[in-house]
């Protein structure tokens, strides 16, 4: 498929699926029908040329295919529909179908892996094989996961419409978390030989851009997009040629993507004063402070410490407490950081890695070495393990 056509089809995919599901219901079968319509378009458009209205063309073909599929499904049981009582206050009517689709794929009745798979497939327009490759899960498993997720949505009787005002915040939080997890999965892959799966991170950014376009005034949506851009901007500097991890203070900052940094900073600068400050905005602000520093020594650590202090008030999870401790160490010295770190539960390899760095800075090579090795034993990422072993090796005095 030629690239611009592929881009067009992927952009249209959620709009078409949203329109077909809104109109006819049958989310599970509609998804198959839209896939087939997209395939037909990919085959015929390069030969016959683009139709006048590609979106309408796809909706028409998908709707026809849907009726075919439903008729073929004669043996299907009579569907039992559940009705949700009229809502307290209906949400605005003029919502893009892609957004409703996103809410549906991130339905709270689904498990997190199901939410990720379904969002990538139905909203991202990825094929089952692409989702499987992106999430490093065998294709049959992803296919089953998606089928089950669609059945769960069908059985829940979730109506195709945006959440009511009363449930809006909770539902949007799930959507943002799913997008954030997709990005994270791409950025810091938790398994496998390659540290970054940049394509998946780029896909997450595409979805976040979609969400931002649909909800331009939501400061947390903007914050999430900014956070992704400001983090993704560093990807080229993050790994060495041999795949080894390079920590931020040792990265070649000329490799950072200036365009993405500028866009991320503009987004977060606009979002911060616009409403209640949430965790994504704060994380984006922290990433912006890092990205603005011309070199590691110029990093404004007191500001980062202050931002983590604000984040702690919203989210006192071990990860945030750990990052706060590191920021304190950088702003006020390793001893202050280590004291805070001691109070954080030592669940993850990151805790040991942070402790190792701080011990090394505090002049305790033996303690640091032990902590590096403890961290290396706990990470699932091969490049990270190599990096941690290498740091431990440096401290043996060889």
């Amino acid at each position: 498929m030629i690239a611009p056509l592929g881009d067009l089809l992927r952009e249209l995919a959620p709009q078409v699926l949203g329109a077909v599901v809104r109109r006819y219901g049958h989310f599970d079968t509609a998804e198959d029908a839209v896939q087939e319509a997209l395939l037909t378009a990919a085959r015929t458009w390069p030969v016959r040329g683009l139709p006048d209205n590609p979106r309408a063309w796809l909706i028409t073909v998908a709707a026809r295919r849907l009726t075919d599929l439903l008729r073929a499904d004669e043996a299907r049981r009579r569907r039992e529909w559940t009705f949700v009582a009229l809502r307290d206050e209906p949400a605005p009517r003029d919502v893009d179908d892609s957004l409703v689709l996103l809410f549906l794929c991130c339905h709270p009745a689904l498990s997190v892996p199901a939410q990720l798979s379904l969002t990538l497939k139905a909203v991202g327009g990825l094929s089952t094989a692409e989702v499987a490759r992106a999430l490093l899960v065998p294709e049959p498993a992803i296919a089953r996961r998606i089928t089950r997720a669609k059945a769960a949505i069908r059985d829940s009787g979730a109506p195709f419409r945006p959440p009511s005002r009363a449930e809006w915040d909770d539902r949007l939080a799930v959507v943002l978390r799913v997008l954030y997890l997709i990005f994270n999965e791409g950025y810091a892959s938790t398994a496998g030989p390659s540290l970054q799966r940049a394509e998946l991170a780029a896909e997450a950014i595409r979805l976040a851009r979609l969400a931002h376009r649909l909800l331009p005034t939501d400061a947390e949506v903007t914050g999430l997009l900014a956070l992704m851009l400001l983090t993704h901007a560093r990807r080229a500097a993050r790994t060495a040629a041999d795949g080894a991890l390079i920590p931020m203070d040792a990265q070649d900052r000329t490799l950072w993507n200036a365009g993405e940094i500028a866009e991320g900073i503009a987004l977060i600068t606009a979002a911060l004063p616009s409403g209640p400050v949430g965790p994504y905005q704060l994380q984006a602000a922290i990433a912006a402070v890092h990205d603005e520093a011309p070199d590691a020594a110029a990093t404004d650590w007191p500001q980062i410490e202050a931002l983590y202090g604000l984040l702690l008030r919203i989210d006192a999870s071990p990860v945030v407490r750990l990052n706060h401790a590191v920021a304190v160490a950088m702003a006020r010295g390793p001893a202050a950081g280590l004291a805070l770190l001691d109070d954080v539960p030592a669940a993850s390899h990151r805790w040991y890695a942070a402790r190792a760095h701080l011990l090394e800075r505090a002049g305790d090579p033996a303690g640091a070495r032990e902590a590096y090795l403890a961290a290396a034993a706990r990470t699932a990422s091969l490049p990270e393990r190599r990096y941690l072993r290498e740091r431990a090796g440096r401290l043996t005095g060889e």
């Binding site: 809104r22 909706i59 028409t60 009705f83 419409r161």
Partner: protein, 141 residues
């Protein structure tokens, strides 16, 4: 987008509603009035929300005329009241213009509360059908 909500009935149902003796319990005048009020309120609510496009009740099946071509002569053949007593035919419809099929279904589900004798309620149902867009859905694929 537009949907048609359709309800069905037989000639028998029409007769009973009119108070005729059919062997099954006929509607009392109070029951018929209660249903009329319910339908009026239901329709008024849809009109008020701006979702109603049109609604009609259809006259008894016995008043139907069916027109079909006679292939040999090429002339139309007209038949009176072609339905069996118990054959269900369209009894009425609402066309609504709403946000999607879920809302249309929700509206149709309100008809579940229509007051009627138990044997009528037991067999009652409504269909929700999407109306075709005039152009977009007739495109060449």
């Amino acid at each position: 987008m537009k949907y048609m909500i359709l309800t069905y009935g037989t000639q028998l149902d029409y007769d009973e509603m009119g108070g005729a003796e059919t062997g099954r319990p006929a509607w009392t005048p109070e029951e018929a009035a209660a249903m009329g009020e319910f339908m009026a309120a239901f329709t008024a609510k849809l009109a008020e929300s701006g979702e109603l496009v049109e609604t009609r009740a259809l006259a008894a099946p016995v008043l139907t005329r069916r027109v079909a071509p006679d292939l040999r002569s090429g002339l139309p053949v007209v038949t009176d009241g072609p339905y069996a007593e118990t054959q269900e035919v369209l009894a009425g419809y609402w066309i609504v213009d709403v946000d999607g099929i879920d809302r249309a279904t929700e509206i149709a589900a309100m008809l579940n509360d229509t007051p009627a004798p138990a044997h009528v309620r037991a067999g009652a149902y409504a269909d929700v059908r999407p109306l075709m867009d005039e152009r977009a859905e007739l495109l060449e694929s």
